[in-house]
């Protein structure tokens, strides 16, 4: 296709993170990064990189092995052991190193080629067991290549480009952010995919779910990414560029306006105080917390903080991280959620669960891995001596999980006392309410905890039995489903009766359309990604609590999602809360 034929293409997708950017495309081709047959200049450097990748892979596997050996089952443990032995295999290592030196090809390519030979032998077998073994070898091969890739990345990815990819993992997203990516454009993914959430956190515009962006867009194409309307223009003409430059100017004006709002302490027009807190996913967001004047951090997603490091970092590494956050936010409070791995999050282990969302995740995983859990609890306790940290448990479904955590926490406190290490004796414990079971159990759980936080993404998913990452049923993931509205109402009422503090920290809290409803349902603390704070504050500042309450009462009587959504849209319009639509209306 010539350039002319590819002028003025408009692609429509999902608006995943707001903002507008004009810039050049960088096509991130995973296959190329995998094992391209690249010639290299410095073979000794390549051999060194290969050895480092082996070491890193070994450390990762060793950590996995240290976890709940009994849980994994003997067979899987053996496979991990065999995988570690492969990383020490003298014949394999020597062959690969010799080939890197002689052929002068990228180590990832040699690793792929050499290990694939063994896999092909295994695949030839009639024995199903042998063919499965080929998959295990695939795992180890991918692990080495992934670790080789990490290093290569930093030098290969150009700065300040619009990243175009089929899909991005959370760690890809963070790495690109470090290379000052301007925007993200992907074929797959939806509004609540972790990449979308991260892009919003990092204030990088994103359009996802474009289906064929990687076919339509070629490296270095000029792109306009409209993260408000979910639109991508490929090689646009001058008029469109000019139009978007005007939009960008307007956007700057809005941002200036928001900066002023964010400095104020916010109440509704009739004087009800609503706290707007921040969710912290990655360290880079701390600066937005400060600049947007977050009234605390309602959720630190620790599994995300450390995904750049190796899996399950040491107590010391964690301690330093938590201390930094506690000090930067002091005297405001910071709620640290303990590792929420499993489900679709991070890489707990290569455990293959047929239904990970109903499987080994959150508190279940932690209580099965007490040594690692203790490391984290101790790290939080040690960082708590100024008294502004709280601990939150994810995925709680039963009282026992809270009680077991409390006894573990007491043990940690005892150890610290014995070592004369200071910590906050009165550190508060709370839970995420994201499973219907926990929502029902609030009055009972209240005897042992001080606060709850509504995790709406998972709550909606479990309440409606919809996997939000499954595109086939993603439409059924309805945040304004009447049962969602009623459940939130039930949770807030019961928490208040039981004397618990309630915060909402899911994506719903950051949806400006939902803000009046949430305030009307009685939520007085909203925790959103740091960059969304000013937008939410602006809504609250222009909202009357009495009106919001009346809206909530109407919504509680609605029969369908569309009915609730229509009520909210009508309310927004009637009260002049649709700020952005005035500025960005299509002309």
């Amino acid at each position: 296709m010539s350039f002319d034929e590819r002028k003025n293409i408009i692609l429509e997708g999902v608006a995943a993170a707001p903002g507008i950017k004009i810039g050049r495309a960088y096509y991130f081709d995973k296959k190329v990064f995998r094992a391209v047959k690249l010639e290299i200049e410095d073979a000794e450097l390549a051999v060194k990189q290969f050895r480092e990748a082996l070491d890193k892979s070994k450390r990762e596997l060793q950590k996995i092995l240290d976890l709940a050996v009994d849980k994994l089952g003997k067979d899987r443990v053996l496979i991990f052991e065999a995988q570690i032995m492969i990383l020490d295999d003298p014949v394999l290592i020597e062959t690969i190193e010799t080939r890197i030196r002689e052929e002068k090809m990228a180590p990832a390519y040699i690793v792929e080629d050499e290990i694939s030979k063994y896999q092909q032998l295994m695949m030839k077998s009639d024995d199903a067991y042998m063919r499965e073994r080929a998959n295990d070898v695939e795992d180890i091969k991918n692990r080495i290549i992934r670790n080789l890739r990490r290093e290569k990345w930093k030098s290969k990815v150009p700065e300040k480009r619009i990243i175009v990819a089929e899909s991005l993992t959370p760690s890809d997203t963070v790495l690109f952010a470090k290379r000052h990516a301007e925007a993200f454009v992907t074929d797959f993914g939806g509004l609540t995919s972790h990449t979308a959430i991260l892009a919003r956190s990092l204030n990088i515009p994103a359009v996802v779910g474009l289906h064929d962006a990687t076919i339509e867009i070629v490296d270095n194409d000029l792109l306009i990414v409209d993260g408000f309307y979910g639109r991508v223009y490929v090689n646009p003409d001058e008029t469109i560029i000019a139009k978007y430059q005007r939009k960008i100017e307007k956007l700057h004006e809005v941002e200036e306006d928001l900066k002023r709002i964010t400095k104020e302490k916010i109440t509704t027009t009739d004087g009800v105080a609503v706290n707007v807190l921040g969710n912290l996913d990655v360290e880079d967001e701390l600066k937005f917390m400060i600049s947007n004047n977050a009234e605390g951090i309602g959720l630190v997603r620790t599994e995300q903080l450390f995904s750049e490091h190796e899996f399950l970092p040491s107590e010391e590494v964690q301690f330093e991280y938590y201390l930094k956050i506690a000090e930067k936010m002091y005297p405001k409070n910071v709620v640290i959620r303990v590792f929420d791995v499993g489900g679709d999050k991070v890489l707990p282990i290569d455990v293959k669960e047929s239904n990970p969302f109903l499987g080994w995740r959150g508190i279940r995983f932690l209580l099965d891995n007490k040594l690692q859990f203790e490391d984290q609890l101790k790290a939080i306790l040690r960082a708590s001596s100024k008294g502004n940290l709280k601990i939150m448990l994810p995925m709680v479904t039963a009282m026992d999980e809270v009680l077991d955590t409390i006894s573990l926490l007491e043990k940690c406190k005892k150890d610290l006392r014995a070592a004369s290490i200071p910590f906050d004796e009165n550190i508060e414990l709370g839970i995420m309410v994201e499973v219907p079971a926990a929502a029902v159990l609030i009055p009972k759980l209240a005897k042992h905890i001080k606060f709850i936080s509504l995790g709406t993404n998972d709550l909606i998913q479990y309440l409606l039995a919809v996997d939000r990452t499954n595109e086939i049923v993603a439409e059924l993931y309805q945040e304004f489903h009447p049962s969602v509205v009623q459940t939130i109402n039930h949770i807030v009422e019961n928490a208040e009766k039981s004397g618990l503090d309630v915060t909402i920290c899911g994506e719903l809290a950051a949806d400006t359309l939902a803000t009046p409803l949430l305030v009307g349902l009685g939520l007085k603390a909203l925790s959103v990604s740091a960059i969304s704070i000013p937008y939410i504050k602006r809504i609250v500042k222009n909202l009357s609590y009495a009106d919001a309450k009346a809206l909530a009462e109407k919504a509680l009587l609605a029969d369908t999602h569309d009915e609730v959504a229509a009520l909210l849209k009508e309310f927004e319009k009637e009260h002049g809360l649709d700020f952005e639509s005035i500025i960005f209306e299509e002309d």
Binding site: A82, Y118, M122, Y129
Partner: protein
């Protein structure tokens, strides 16, 4: 050099666990150790190599040991095969 024939006698055959054990045992010795089957010659100190040997119950393998401690190496490893990888 010592050459020995061994037969796989356990039900599960030469699967991951015995493959790992064989490599661990072989690595303790200085002697070279190869496993031959159907014209394939696998270095017995390479786990990924031994894992490619789809040796089911009843299969016959030829083991060769070559080096200063070949006798002890042969005795240890042949014994492990004859014990059915401790799975009988």
């Amino acid at each position: 050099m010592i050459t020995k024939e061994v037969k796989i006698i356990n039900d599960a055959g030469l699967h991951t666990r015995p493959a790992a054990t064989i490599v661990k045992l072989a690595s303790k010795f200085k002697s070279d150790f190869f496993i031959n089957r159907d014209g394939m010659k696998i270095n017995g100190k390479s786990i990924i190599g031994v894992m490619t040997l789809a040796a089911e119950k009843g299969a016959t393998l030829t083991l060769t040991f070559d080096g200063e401690d070949e006798e002890e190496a042969a005795r240890t490893i042949v014994d492990y095969f004859n014990r059915g990888f401790d799975e009988l």
